[in-house]
């Protein structure tokens, strides 16, 4: 697989140092796969780190090696786009625990020469960020212009700003939260149970048997996908429209377009994502709780931090609603931190941050130009 990524200009950093994880466990050496866009200037002060979400990867602005689809944020990243690659050197890193080249549960454990599977240590958002900092160190970048991310990417941006504020000029957490709510955990648990209930999961050891818990992973993806949309967007796009038929089929085939759409989402996901990775990354998100990790209130964590924040939420996002984002805004204001906050009017649900929302582009563009 890594050969495949190398063909796609994906870069690799083999971090030789051991990484002490939040759980107390240690990873002895790991790989980090990443992509860069634009040129790092001689002062090395024009770098922006984009952090991907749960099902994202390093292919933020170039076509995906498996799906061949365009990068997941190509509308935002590129020449003359808000995250302008003629001005910025953009880095996007596959998270630790991921399955697109960075070390994760699908990697070979060098100590046993077998696939890690569920013997991979539990990782957290803070661990992902720690691994990212190591790469940024290796690239000899002292300070990033910004760390930007939506959803789980926003959690990483918040963790960067909490633990490494001196390494940043600004942080842009989008459609995110400072801790996972019961509802967030509940939906992730549905996904994990679906994977683990698939007989092909085989206690995590499916690679040995050359099988794949694709049914389970597909259901996990279908469930999660619904949480990224909204009732309004589902109604607008599908309503009760039937798929390739004029009347109900009186059976359990995909009669409705929404069923067919979800099944398609599930099927295509299993081709590009590892089921164990899905377990590990959703767990990392569920464990995310900045106040618990830092043993301080949100206000205390960021008090007098000397960097600029832009927080963005979307009206139709019920997964990481405005109220969750506002909690962060209020904590920052109380700590005397320079913060901007915009709420974008959109009925597209949580996924709005990835979709065409011109007002969002203008805000992000204005903020980045002010830095």
């Amino acid at each position: 697989m890594n050969e495949e990524h190398k063909k796609n200009d994906c870069l690799f950093y083999n971090d030789p140092e051991s990484l002490l994880l939040e759980s107390g466990q240690i990873i002895n050496g790991h790989d980090i796969a990443y992509k860069t866009y634009g040129t790092l200037n001689s002062k090395k002060d024009n770098a922006i780190l984009i952090c991907h979400a749960l099902s994202g990867d390093q292919y933020v602005a170039s076509s995906h090696p498996i799906t061949k689809k365009e990068g997941w944020w190509e509308r935002m990243v590129g020449k003359d786009k808000p995250i302008d690659t003629s001005r910025f050197f953009v880095i996007c890193i596959n998270v630790l625990g991921g399955c697109m080249g960075s070390t994760g549960p699908a990697s070979i454990n060098p100590e046993t020469n077998k696939v890690f599977a569920v013997n991979f240590p539990i990782i957290t958002i803070a661990d992902m960020v720690k691994a990212q900092v190591r790469l940024i160190d290796n690239l000899e970048i002292e300070k990033l212009v910004s760390v930007i991310g939506g959803s789980m990417g926003g959690m990483q941006a918040l963790e960067w700003a909490a633990s490494y504020p001196e390494r940043l000029k600004s942080a842009i957490p989008i459609a995110t939260s400072s801790r996972h709510t019961a509802q967030n955990i509940a939906f992730h648990e549905l996904g994990r149970q679906a994977i683990m209930a698939d007989v092909n999961w085989n206690s995590g050891n499916y690679k040995d048997k050359n099988t794949n818990p694709s049914k389970g992973l597909s259901i996990a993806r279908m469930t999660a996908h619904v949480t990224y949309l909204s009732e309004a967007s589902l109604t607008k796009k599908f309503g009760r429209k039937l798929q390739d038929k004029t009347d109900l089929g009186f059976g359990f085939d995909a009669d409705f377009q929404i069923e067919s759409y979800l099944r398609h989402q599930g099927h295509t996901f299993v081709d590009r994502f590892d089921a164990n990775s899905y377990l590990y990354i959703t767990r990392a998100m569920d464990y995310f709780d900045l106040e618990k990790t830092h043993k301080k209130s949100l206000t205390e964590i960021y008090a007098n931090t000397n960097l600029k924040f832009l927080i963005v939420s979307f009206t139709g996002d019920w997964l990481y609603p405005t109220s969750e984002n506002l909690m962060i805004v209020r904590a920052l204001s109380a700590g005397g931190v320079d913060v901007s906050f915009v709420e974008i009017d959109s009925d597209k649900g949580h996924d709005a941050f990835l979709l065409d929302e011109p007002e969002f582009d203008v805000c992000l563009d204005g903020f980045l130009k002010s830095l």
């Binding site: 805004v329 204001s333 901007s340 906050f341 709420e343 974008i344 007002e359 805000c363 903020f367 002010s370």
Partner: protein, 201 residues
């Protein structure tokens, strides 16, 4: 060089360079933009209307959505060199509470008000017997956001009552300004269309 609306220009004149400033009810960010570019201020804005907030942020200004009546409690004591409340206090639910909050979070407070004691306002009410409509008070009684209008004397009385020290006043009438160290004289309550107060405790 940016040219500012007259009253905002007078407010900007009261702000020393390199200060930390918050503008409560900052609208489209005209004053903040000026202060950040011309006075090297470290700026922050609070605005109730999200559309206006987005506009400010797209100009690169640090602004959040919030309500002066509810959200001033967020900010720590004396966290700003200047707190500015321009033409807004009359539209708040609890002006007295807000004035106390402003002086808590800011070392200096700048408040500007439309003067309901202005002679044209008095005349309108006296002669027509209707709620006055002037250039500063330009909405009908049922459309206006102004629920706590006051005169210059009303405002200075409230400051006295709260033991707040007015260090400087600037009054404006038909684009002419007058400066007073401390409170303005009695005639300002008749001849000034609006007033800007610099409060420092």
């Amino acid at each position: 060089m940016i040219t500012l609306r007259k009253d905002l220009d007078l407010i900007a004149n009261l702000v020393e360079d390199n200060s930390k400033v918050i503008d409560i009810g900052c609208g489209n960010g005209e004053l903040l933009n000026f202060l950040s570019k011309n006075k090297n201020s470290k700026i922050q804005g609070l605005e109730i209307n999200q559309k206006k907030v987005n506009k400010c942020v797209s100009k690169g200004l640090s602004v959040i959505q919030g309500d002066a009546d509810k959200d001033l409690g967020l900010y720590p004591e004396k966290s700003f060199d200047y707190v500015i409340l321009s033409q807004t206090i009359q539209a708040t639910l609890e002006p007295e509470k807000i004035l106390i909050e402003l002086t808590r979070i800011g070392k200096r407070v700048i408040v500007s008000i439309p003067n309901f004691g202005f002679w044209k306002v008095r005349l309108d009410l006296l002669v027509k017997g209707k709620m006055p409509i002037t250039s500063k008070l330009n909405s009908t009684w049922f459309e206006t956001e102004n629920i706590h209008l006051c005169t210059i004397s009303d405002f200075t009385d409230l400051c006295d009552q709260l033991n707040l020290k007015i260090k400087q006043t600037v009054t404006i009438a038909s684009n002419k300004q007058k400066k007073f160290s401390g409170k303005p004289n009695k005639s300002a309550n008749i001849f000034a269309e609006e007033a800007i107060f610099l409060i420092q405790n």
